[in-house]
């Protein structure tokens, strides 16, 4: 019998968050016509229409636009839908929103959670692949019952639109199922650096960069490669880069074509966030750094001696490339 798999999409200000289309694609690949997408948000008609390009059916739960809702606050609505329509499995993006929702739904439904999936297959039962604890061990796990919730590592699955666009069913979320006690008293938008998630090139700096002044070389190298600036946790703790750029276990998970690490040793907590990168180049002055055995190219050198001329040479290479 065909299984049903729902993807609970992550939206922000009406648009789909970048990790949602990949997870929706995964739901369709697993369940075909049994795939559906759930969005609970205000002013999300556009996001629902976008999600419908990936899965055959969308349920859009509408909430008042003038109220603030945390993911937990709307979990009772989604839990009730699940009890009524009985999907077999739920997929959520492994974003802060998705994780919060997965936890709340697991409590309300008493369903198991398998976290940080890098791949999912569904035959007789759903099998989840993930990398647990250390980045050098692959684990396959399953649910012990016929139901479960999977959080999917952002960008583990690439998006691809369906041949046929799905339909959207709109439902008003009843007041009793959106009892948000959390209020938002302040929202300040600031000019943010280019996001590391979804970037094709990421240049990340770590403790080895040494100082706020020296951090400029990380930004310059990113600029010459049209890349985003990432950071290891020590660099964020030192205040050289904002938390939004942190890559690793407690930060963002990225999967660029090129990942350049400057002054990062490559401890497991960092590798968790970038191990899916296609090409990894590392410059570090510690020849015994974990990255010396993980990178594609490991340059054992002092950043100050290597990176400024590297930026200059890349600039020249770009200009030449532009002329030819």
């Amino acid at each position: 019998m065909n299984k049903t798999v729902w993807v609970i999409a992550d939206v922000s200000e009406g648009g789909l968050v970048s990790s949602s289309p990949g997870v929706a694609t995964l739901a369709r690949e697993l369940a075909g016509d049994g795939a559906a997408g759930i969005i609970v948000a205000a002013n999300a008609t556009g996001a629902a229409a976008e999600l419908a390009t990936y899965v055959p059916h969308i349920i859009l739960g509408r909430v008042p636009a003038d109220e603030y809702f945390t993911p937990s606050a709307v979990a009772p609505f989604i839990a009730r839908l699940v009890r009524e329509r009985r999907p077999d499995y739920l997929l959520v993006p492994g974003t802060p929103t998705g994780r919060e929702l997965a936890g709340a739904l697991s409590a309300l439904l008493q369903w198991g959670v398998l976290a940080n999936a890098t791949g999912v297959s569904l035959d007789e039962r759903l099998v989840v692949r993930s990398v647990v604890f250390r980045t050098d061990l692959n684990v396959r796990s399953a649910f012990t019952s016929d139901h479960g919730i999977v959080t999917v590592q952002p960008h583990a699955v690439g998006p691809s639109v369906a041949a046929v666009t799905g339909d959207v069913e709109e439902i008003d979320v009843p007041a009793a199922e959106r009892t948000s006690l959390v209020r938002r008293s302040e929202l300040v938008r600031e000019e943010a650096p280019a996001p590391v998630e979804g970037a094709r090139v990421v240049v990340a700096g770590g403790a080895g960069v040494g100082s706020r002044e020296a951090w400029a070389v990380v930004e310059s190298l990113a600029a010459v490669l049209d890349g985003a600036v990432g950071a290891s946790r020590p660099a964020v703790d030192n205040g050289w880069a904002p938390y939004s750029q942190q890559i690793g276990q407690t930060g963002k998970i990225v999967r660029p074509d090129l990942y350049i690490a400057l002054g990062i040793s490559g401890e497991v907590q960092h590798r968790v966030g970038m191990r899916m990168s296609k090409t990894v180049v590392v410059v570090d002055k510690d020849p015994d750094a974990p990255f010396a055995r993980f990178a594609d190219l490991f340059v054992h050198a002092d950043l100050a001696e290597i990176v400024p001329p590297l930026i200059e040479q890349l600039r020249i290479a770009r200009e030449k490339g532009g002329q030819s």
Partner: protein, 260 residues
């Protein structure tokens, strides 16, 4: 103010891990330490206590009894007491089972605020806190960078990718914190000595009224297979003259068509 800090002993990731025959992590092979992110939760609690006299901090953990050594540091830096839920039947608990047990223990404790780290370095699921909040039917706020309590509400500041925001919720509430709480304090010698002689209050499963499944036998998830990751291509190591190294990096990137 009664603050409960959820602390999970996690394997010290600087060690080498191994797996048991049943494919669960052999936690005995690793010295347990407090989940580094939970230490920020404790730090946030200690800072609240500094501004709110009479604040009492309780550490709550579900763990094997022998992991206490790694958790006593929490008392050494200033937590008032510790409660350990420990029972052989809890070995192999899944996420839901863990949340059910923690919620049952919290129902037995008096609290205004529950704090924890946003996630743990071993499971990395980051879902237990919101599950506990849902079970207790109290508000949950994640990714707190700073915490304050005003007029019986917890006030949380946190960063967003495009800025920052301030949220607040009525107490009691669950708040998960990040490293942005700020620098941790370290125990002094007197604190370490005082903590050494203290033991946690110990509860077994029989002491709790757990709603829902709990324990390894009722786990909702199971590990099927563990294997080493595919090896990446061997690393090319470059050292020596800076000009030559720069030339080699540029050639490497050009060869892979990674220069825009």
């Amino acid at each position: 103010m009664r603050v409960v800090v959820l602390t999970k002993p996690v394997p010290d990731t600087s060690g080498d891990e191994s797996f048991e025959a049943d494919l669960t992590l052999d936690r005995a092979s690793l010295a347990p330490v407090i989940n580094p992110n939970d230490e920020y939760a404790l730090e946030a609690a200690l800072r609240l206590a500094e501004t709110m006299p009479g604040t009492e901090i309780t550490l709550l953990t579900m763990a094997p009894a022998e992991s206490w050594a790694g958790l006593s540091k929490g008392l050494a830096v200033g937590a008032n007491q510790a409660v350990m839920v420990t029972d052989p039947a809890l070995e192999g608990s899944c996420i839901v089972g863990t949340a059910n047990v923690l919620a049952a223990a919290l129902r037995k404790l008096e609290f205004d605020l529950i704090l924890a780290g946003t996630d743990t370095p071993d499971g990395r699921a980051g879902v237990v806190c919101s599950a506990v909040a849902a079970l207790l039917q109290i508000p949950f706020i994640s990714h707190a960078g700073s915490i304050d309590v005003r007029d019986d509400r917890v006030v949380v500041s946190r960063t967003r990718d495009d800025g920052h925001e301030t949220l607040d919720a009525p107490l009691p509430a669950v708040v998960a914190v990040t490293q942005q709480i700020g620098d941790l304090r370290y125990p002094n010698l007197r604190g370490i000595m005082a903590a050494r002689s203290r033991r946690p209050t110990s509860w077994s499963l029989a002491d709790l009224d757990v709603a829902g499944a709990a324990g390894g036998a009722a786990a909702t998830t199971a590990t099927l297979h563990v294997e080493p990751c595919e090896i990446r291509t061997p690393t090319r190591v470059v050292r020596g003259d800076a000009d030559a190294a720069v030339h080699e990096i540029v050639a490497f990137l050009a060869d892979r068509r990674l220069i825009p």
